[in-house]
Symmetry: C2
């Protein structure tokens, strides 16, 4: 949204107006740590958007990646396949998310990145980003922020996988998605969940059969209603209470940038 504001206020003859902002809406571009100049530098580094079919690997497991991929539209996931064929997702990537942040510093990926729906994706060369980060503190800090955010979500997932019942895990996932998608109005939440029950099972460490049964329980309790892939959570507050989900979940409010004066103080 910040990206959108920028282009809206840019002068009519601006060069940026000639090509639509590629990172608009991405968490990267929305970072409060970026100056206008830094945001534009990132924008310039981005390659043209590309459209990818559903269920397509953007990056295979163990691949070597020279670009960071940003999901601009559609859903994707990070996954790992065990030797016995068991699969576990380690991230759900929503519009705005970076698919392979690790590639910034590690050459070999230890997961794969795959689309769940048709998606449009933007690639940004990792070396370019690294070079920009040297020049621009705000860009460096933005990537620290992104990495820490992923940390928060992964920590929540370990809680679910380690200590929660199947029903509670599913409820938690729905609450998380409701928050991340900003899908709530008047205590009700509506959003499209473009995943099969098998894929949901691979997030929750369950089988598709059991996800199905647990989902029915939630429906019977009136916590969830589904029509095709459309999810409705009639009472999100109650759902959150039932599974002990923290509404302040994901540190959605971004901390303010460090005031400039602080630098002088710390270095004195």
């Amino acid at each position: 949204m910040i990206g959108a504001q920028l282009s809206a206020t840019s002068p009519a003859g601006d060069v940026a107006a000639c090509r639509p902002p590629r990172l608009a809406g991405s968490r990267l571009a929305a970072s409060a740590f970026l100056s206008r100049e830094e945001r534009q530098a990132l924008e310039d580094a981005a390659a043209p958007a590309r459209t990818v079919a559903a269920n397509t690997d953007l990056l295979q497991e163990g691949a070597h990646a020279d670009d960071l991929f940003i999901i601009v539209e559609g859903w994707a996931c990070r996954y790992v396949t065990a030797k016995d064929g068991g699969r576990q997702l380690s991230a759900l990537l929503l519009p705005g998310d970076v698919g392979n942040l690790d590639s910034l510093l590690f050459s070999r990926l230890d997961y794969g990145v795959r689309t769940l729906t048709e998606a449009t994706v933007v690639a940004v060369p990792r070396d370019w980003i690294l070079a920009l980060a040297v020049q621009h503190p705000g860009i460096a800090r933005t990537f620290i922020w992104l990495a820490l955010l992923e940390n928060v979500i992964l920590t929540k997932w370990t809680q679910s996988l380690g200590r929660r019942s199947a029903k509670s895990r599913l409820a938690h996932l729905l609450c998380e998605l409701s928050m991340r998608l900003d899908a709530e109005t008047d205590g009700e939440s509506r959003f499209t969940l473009p995943m099969t029950q098998e894929q949901i099972a691979d997030v929750l460490g369950l089988t598709a059969v059991h996800v199905n049964r647990v989902l029915q329980e939630l429906r019977l309790e009136g916590m969830v209603s589904t029509k095709y892939r459309r999810m409705i959570l009639p009472d999100v507050v109650r759902l959150r209470q039932s599974c002990g989900s923290d509404p302040h979940y994901l540190h959605m409010e971004q901390p303010a940038a460090t005031p400039r004066g602080m630098v002088a103080r710390a270095l004195s």
Copy 2:
């Protein structure tokens, strides 16, 4: 170790020689991204080391922290307690690790940090680090690196918690610790594991009773032998094979710093 080299090669009358390096051996100080100057700047920011008893909270769940805590000696953990009393650890902190990296940008912690053994700890003011990161790209990059490393470990844990059997989870944990502690010689690994079976259970998402039974199975199979808290893994290679653990696990090899020339190229 790099820190140790530094003080060894510093001139006899150096100021640094007057106070022993506080961050020596920490992953922070060992970062290959730091120039000598940057490493010293971090060193200067560190408070004197403090000794803390076992089973003591460094930070309570949900606390507000203004410092980053670095575990210099001893073991600690990150944990979350559910309302029903169930506890799940989300990190094991070994000497050199940062306890609360999130505090760099998020004011409210969503976990607690607690010692497992007696430990010595160094605090570094977060605002100081943030200010240094603005001036020193190597410091900024080091923190990106630290955050991404935590990500890698958390991703591995989600695999274990979601898709592995109890025995495999335990084997994986032992392999991870063997690597992180660099405890292997001639295919055999020996290290002290200063945790109760209850604490191990809280890492693996199991009960202490079941950890006990599974540990006995591993003993019967000759994969593990224990004497008090001392672990011996007679054949780490076989243990790794039995549970499908990747020896290149933790990106122990740190990527080289970006060559300076790259900046000019990217910005041209």
